[in-house]
């Protein structure tokens, strides 16, 4: 089966700095793929290149819809990429702070809605039904991430871990087939991280999405990933199953080594 996301020798330069150096990577359908590496390795930059925030200097980013349609997405606008079926969360939480929790998720439904300006003003039966559908769908997503308690709360009032989960719900609202999570467990306590682990697995299994995940928490990464890519200084230094990666000497030297010593 074709990979959902495929990167072929993607490079990204910032002036003289090569942040990504010929990175090639694949995400297969309904897999959890993790991307790990020390700080500044270029993981977030890779996400930004894939989602259209940056235009890669060279290389191809291919997005293959499960239906079979394949698109090269380099240089597309971020909203186009999202429309094609890839959604993401941000390392430094980027919610819409003064909107309510439910509204944040409803914004995510935007590109799957059709209400025009006139339709919104007249608010005929079609628009009403759509609006209700969106509320219900958003509510369902909030139930998935366990935030129904705070539906009408202003999102910036949520505790940190809840904000991270809200970002996941919001990304899911765009009805993607591939979800990119940038350090979803950052700042969470062990209990929250465990719940998150379960949530990510549930998103793969019951919602059958593919997931590409950046994470520093090794227990999470090793626990749930089907495949792991390791980056250092913009280059891939290893890839494989969790077991292979954790036994790879280059990885241990670059990354896990420091971790295990600590």
């Amino acid at each position: 089966m074709a990979a959902v996301l495929e990167l072929n020798k993607v490079c990204m330069d910032f002036g003289g700095l090569r942040a990504l150096d010929e990175v090639s990577l694949r995400v297969e359908p309904s897999q959890i793929v993790a991307l790990i590496g020390p700080n500044g390795a270029g993981k977030t930059t890779l996400f930004n290149c894939v989602t259209g925030i940056y235009d890669p200097t060279s290389g191809d980013v291919l997005l293959n819809a499960p239906g079979g349609e394949s698109r090269r997405v380099n240089g597309l606008k971020p909203n186009k990429v999202t429309e094609l079926g890839m959604a993401r969360t941000f390392q430094n939480i980027r919610l819409f702070p003064s909107m309510t929790v439910l509204e944040n998720v409803m914004v995510g439904c935007h590109c799957r809605m059709h209400a025009s300006i006139l339709g919104a003003v007249v608010k005929g039966p079609g628009a009403r039904a759509e609006e209700r559908r969106v509320v219900d769908f958003s509510y369902e997503l909030l139930r998935l991430v366990g935030l129904t308690r705070w539906v009408n709360e202003i999102s910036s009032n949520l505790p940190y871990g809840a904000q991270r989960r809200l970002e996941i719900a919001r990304a899911m609202a765009t009805e993607p087939y591939l979800v990119l999570l940038d350090e979803p467990a950052a700042g969470m306590n062990p209990q929250e991280t465990d719940d998150l682990k379960e949530l990510i697995v549930r998103i793969r299994d019951t919602w059958s999405k593919s997931i590409l995940l950046i994470e520093h928490d090794m227990s999470l990464v090793m626990g749930i990933s089907d495949r792991i890519y390791v980056m250092e200084y913009g280059r891939l230094i290893a890839e494989g199953s969790p077991k292979e990666v954790s036994e790879n000497p280059a990885v241990i030297k670059a990354y896990l080594g420091e971790d295990l010593d600590a």
Binding site: S98, G108, A120, T148
Partner: protein, 405 residues
Amino acid sequence: MLGIKRSLLVSIWFMFLTFPLLVIRVNTVENTVDWRFMNMLYVGVGSFFLSFVWRYLMERRARGGGRSGGQGAGSVMQRVLGEKRIFYPIAAVVALAALSFPLFSDAYQTNVMISTLLYVMLGLGLNIVVGLAGLLDLGYVAFYAVGAYAYALLNQHFGLGFWTVLPLGGLLGAVCGVLLGFPVLRLRGDYLAIVTLGFGEIIRLVLENWGDFTHGPSGIANIPRPGLFGMDLSIHDAAIYIYYIVFGMVLVTIFVVNRLKNSRIGRAWLALKEDEIACQAMGIDKAKTKLTAFALGSTWAGFAGVIFAAKTTFINPACFTFLESALILSIVVLGGMGSITGVIVGALVIVVLPESLRDFPQFRMLLFGAILVLMMIFRPQGFISTERKKYEYHGAADETPAEGE
């Protein structure tokens, strides 16, 4: 006490600064100099007192006391307005009062109220651009001018009536909004503000200098008032008629803005305002969303412009200066960005306050400015901050909402 010492210094400084202006008066008739030392005393005592109060308030604010106090008062108002059982009767009473207003008032009062309602319209329109979409537009008055000149010129050259031009004016406003929107799509914040400011001035300068087309600075006179089935209305009756037209338009505006605010497009505007990158990552087309905000905002300015021309029957470029844009912007900011009730309150304050301060002409603008500054310091979110809509779950209530872990 440090505070007293500081305030004393401030008052001495002020006495020194105002000395040449307020104390010395050269009497040119008798060639003598009057020394008005009483003025100096007033300035000294006044500035000492004000500075003291100021310091006290700032301190309270810094300690958080003033802040929570201010918000307490605000949130009481908020809660009252948020409660439908209280809000609807109040809104109904206000609407009724507004409806019967011209029956009890003279021509002057009616005219002031017409201006107020026009400003409500303008404020609500600008509120779409600034309050909802977060695009700081300092040239809003340009679209107002477009509407007004559309009516004046179309009437003069083609004899088109008020009711024909009203939608056309809105349309022209929208077109100009998009025209302005395109080049500024990539700009934000201060840069956007400067470009829109320039755009407003360009329109005004074109109106002033393109004499053949716009009659230049002397303006266009004898613009007909809107007709009522061909009846001849006295000036007072015409004012009342216009009053009801504006009132109707304000209701329409409120209805439309309210609908938009909690719709797909309204949420997109808010999202754009709060975080552009996240907004795009949610699949929202930034360019399209910005353009619709500009277009819709300027539509209302176009409508208001047509009505304004019909009301005053005379327009010239001097009606559309930057000051006007600033005034409309302060209505939005003062009232509370994004809040419809806030904009209405803001318009009332901005138009009625300077009007009622006419008895102190020399201090009018000064007091007005002072009030604005105080507002920005002690209640930056405006009189009424936005309330977000609360949603209910319509789906099958098959289980009690799963609580967060």
